[in-house]
């Protein structure tokens, strides 16, 4: 048996045992790399690259109206998209294309719209509102992949993109 402070000890033994020391050495290196990847993935998850984190949340502002939503979603997980409307005059219209709803299930809308209609594959929800209003949409991803859609609030178009993980 030889010992060294740096190298892995070589053992001469009579056991019927295939140690494959070289493979162990390679394995320890790969393990370290693997741990690096695992911890990197954890940090990315904390940051929100896989959803529910600061990197995932995005806010778009146009004409005084804004929308806050999550860019990264997970399959069958719930998320929220909130529209903030300024200077509403009597009513608000929220236009969501059907293409968007193929990927995202609109679980509920708060407050409830007083009516809706679908024309040319675009569903429009109508709300009674005056001046400032918030509309909360509770979503659930029902398909994996990428979806980009233009959602209009009082004729203001917002380009919403989601990356949905399996």
């Amino acid at each position: 048996m030889t010992e060294n402070k740096q190298s892995v000890e070589t053992v001469r033994h009579k056991l019927q045992l295939d140690e494959s020391l070289e493979q162990h050495k390679r394995g320890w290196i790969i393990q370290k790399i693997g741990w690096g990847i695992l911890y990197s993935a954890l940090i990315l998850a904390l940051a929100g690259v896989f959803g529910s984190g600061p990197l995932s949340y995005k806010t778009l502002i146009k004409n005084g109206n804004s929308v806050k939503y999550e860019r990264f979603l997970r399959y069958e997980s719930e998320a929220e998209m909130t529209f903030n409307i300024q200077n509403a005059k009597d009513s608000i219209t929220l236009e969501i294309p059907q293409q968007y709803m193929q990927y995202i299930d609109l679980h509920s809308i708060t407050p409830l719209p007083h009516s809706n209609r679908t024309v040319n594959d675009v569903t429009t929800y109508y709300f009674h509102a005056l001046r400032t209003a918030n509309i909360h949409c509770h979503l659930m991803a029902k398909r994996t992949g990428s979806i980009t859609a233009i959602i209009k609030v009082n004729e203001t178009p917002f380009t919403i993109s989601h990356q949905i993980y399996p």
Binding site: M1, E3, N4, K5, Q6, S7, V8, E9, V11, H13, L15, L17, D18, E19, S20, Q23, H24, G27, W28, I30, Q31, G34, W35, L38, Y75, E76, T144, P166
Partner: protein, 150 residues
Amino acid sequence: MNPVIRGIIIYLFLMLVFRLSGKRTLAQTTPFELVLLLIISEVTQQALVGEDYSITTSLILITTLIGVDLLFSMIKHKWKGFEKITEGSPLIVVADGKLLQNRSRKSRVSEEDVLEAARNIHGLERLDQIKYAVLELDGTISIIPKESAV
């Protein structure tokens, strides 16, 4: 997602993570590790089944997991190199009553772990009574006592 694909992904991911974490991780050496293993199995079960509690999905998933495992065991049987990659190989950590420092450090086996195994299996009292201690594939430590210690 198709349950077959889901089952294969989960199987491969678990195999990769357990292989990367090393033999000693989750070798159920402490009650906490046993609890951790149970939590992992619970999370895995949710990812596998999702919202679909049908018997059909369960049958598909069981068949998938057994099928992949069977396929892997056949490949391992035919190609020994594959077995070494997926499961590793045993490692001697004590020889002639001396702890092999670099081997034990890299495989995260402490002198206490070896002594515990020596006490449990053979009722040995000291390290110098051990001829060989081997870290096995499942993370357990096998003890071969010196003839004088038996």
